[in-house]
């Protein structure tokens, strides 16, 4: 016989109280500590989960110091250790550098090589000529003759010889600009620092270059990816454990001159802004790799992005071309959720 479930009022009332209690718990002030700092010419958001406020403040201060130190060391146009290096590189003689700078240079070199030098931190001169080494790029674009003269010298990090803490350039056209990796590198340094301080759940977001460790309480970290064609959200993804996400977009920095738009991602092969791509999003375990790769893939474009991503060891990436079509690998396609209606046209690539 079917027995109708009986609810005693006592049980009901405890249910009510339990329900209300869970409701109120889930809404309770999360043990989330957030701090926003201005460093590296960027807004840096630090989110720490489950860290006591006092310890969190100290961690945030430590990271702020990291970011500021990296900012002042690597600034490409305000007097910094990097501008001093650039001044010496043209001499062709060996000179000593701050040993702290070597790891990033070695790292950048490896990534540059893997990307067929589409990510190329040696084209500082080109970037300077385009005015992208400046707070407010505004054109006009450089003389075509200047551009072709600069690219004909093929400056790359292959030309920079690192011996201990000494640098020497075999190519006088080499001028370093770590704009496409420095921010990601700083995020990595910050995360390493947090780990050393015992923080297990955190997110560092430097102007959209994001790395997470652990989780946001009982759920992963939720990331929205901005639509490169508008101001809304294109897609969302959940990150946890140790993952980075970086998007490079042609909409981030640009100037309009004589009715034409010139963006900041310069193709080192042509000397002109890369064509055909709106943005590239890369997931990787470290932010420096994701940062460099996203820039390289914008330059690579729809034709070569897959090959370059593989060469750089990238397993998850997405490229959005000028027509708004999303080119994406199957692994990322599976975990990303598109938020726009209608959903964008998607072209699935072979696995990376």
């Amino acid at each position: 016989m079917y027995a109708f479930p009986r609810y005693s009022p006592l049980a009901t009332s405890y249910c009510l109280i339990l329900l209300l209690a869970t409701l109120s718990c889930s809404k309770q002030e999360a043990p989330l500590y957030q701090e926003q700092i201005l460093a590296l010419g960027a807004l840096v958001d630090i989110s720490l989960w489950g860290v006591k406020p006092e310890a969190a403040r100290q961690a945030a201060d430590a990271i702020t110091a990291d970011f500021n130190r990296i900012h002042t060391t690597w600034h490409a146009w305000k007097p910094s250790e990097l501008t001093r290096i650039n001044a010496q590189l043209v001499t062709g003689h060996a000179f000593s550098v701050n040993p702290e700078m070597i790891p990033l240079l070695v790292r950048a070199h490896a990534l540059s090589q893997a990307s067929d030098h589409l990510f190329n931190p040696a084209i500082g001169q080109l970037l300077a000529r385009w005015g992208f080494q400046g707070d407010e790029p505004k054109g006009p674009p450089p003389d075509p003759a200047v551009i072709s003269a600069l690219i004909s010298q093929h400056p790359t990090l292959d030309d920079v010889v690192i011996e201990g803490d000494h640098l020497r350039s075999t190519n006088r056209a080499v001028q370093l600009d770590v704009g496409a990796i420095g921010q990601g590198y700083a995020v990595d340094v910050a995360i390493a620092h947090l780990r050393k301080l015992g923080v297990e759940n955190a997110m560092v977001n430097a102007s959209g270059d994001i790395r997470v460790i652990g989780r946001h309480g009982n759920r992963p970290w939720r990331i929205g990816i901005r639509d490169p064609r508008g101001s809304g959200i294109l897609a969302s993804i959940e990150l946890q454990g140790d993952e980075s996400i970086v998007t490079s977009g042609t909409y981030e920095r640009y100037f309009d001159y004589a009715g034409k738009r010139y963006h900041h991602i310069i193709d080192p092969r042509t000397g002109y802004p890369a064509q055909g791509t709106l943005s590239v999003t890369v997931l990787a375990s470290d932010t420096a790799t994701a940062d460099a790769a996203s820039t390289a893939l914008v330059v690579a474009g729809t034709k070569d992005w897959h090959r370059i991503a593989r060469a750089m060891g990238i397993k998850q990436a997405m490229l959005i071309d000028d027509h708004g079509t999303v080119h994406i690998d199957p692994v990322l396609a599976k975990r990303i959720r598109f938020e726009t209606t209608p959903a964008p046209k998607i072209e699935l690539s072979p696995p990376l």
Binding site: L10, L20, S26, K27
Partner: protein
């Protein structure tokens, strides 16, 4: 010599009506509730009928006795349910009494069973909620439930009111 306990006619009436309300209350508590905290509150029908027929004192007696007796029978006396139930009942009895007295003095302010019932249900829910908030879970998130709870109160209050109205029409004929 043992003193004889004298009872009035009103006492008997209260006892009978309370018994009826308790029966409804207990029967209803055996029903599954769609959402904790939301009950039809059909025992309210008796309260409203008594209010209109016999005045607010009688109604208050019936309401408070109903809560007390039901809790004793159900074994929830002094439990959180009882506290919530009692605070709701007190609040509703208070509002009914005040409205009733005002309605008596003020011509044109007369309420039918429908109006009383909706008022009683709202007062019951508000009182219960206030106590739940103050005693059990003083968290702002609870306030999110308030609109739903109050909506249910209005709906069930209206239903009870219509039933009470029907009962009175039949009985009063």
């Amino acid at each position: 010599m043992p003193r004889k306990l004298t009872t009035t006619r009103d006492d008997h009436l209260i006892a009978w009506l309370t018994a009826l309300a308790v029966t409804i209350h207990i029967a209803e508590s055996a029903l599954p509730s769609p959402l904790p905290g939301i009950k039809p509150g059909l025992a309210n029908v008796v309260t409203i009928a008594v209010l209109i027929r016999y005045g607010w004192r009688m109604a208050a007696w019936v309401t408070l006795l109903r809560v007390l007796v039901s809790s004793l029978l159900l074994g929830s006396f002094l439990s959180p349910t009882f506290v919530l139930s009692l605070s709701g009942a007190l609040c509703s009895a208070l509002v009914l009494a005040l409205t009733y007295i005002v309605a008596q003095r003020l011509p044109g302010a007369g309420l039918s069973a429908l109006g009383y019932s909706v008022l009683a249900a709202l007062a019951h829910m508000a009182g219960q909620f206030a106590v739940a908030y103050a005693l059990f879970i003083p968290h702002p998130a609870l306030l999110h439930l308030l609109p739903v709870l109050m909506s249910a109160a209005v709906i069930f209050g209206a239903v009870s009111g219509i039933i009470a109205q029907a009962m009175l029409t039949k009985a009063g004929a």
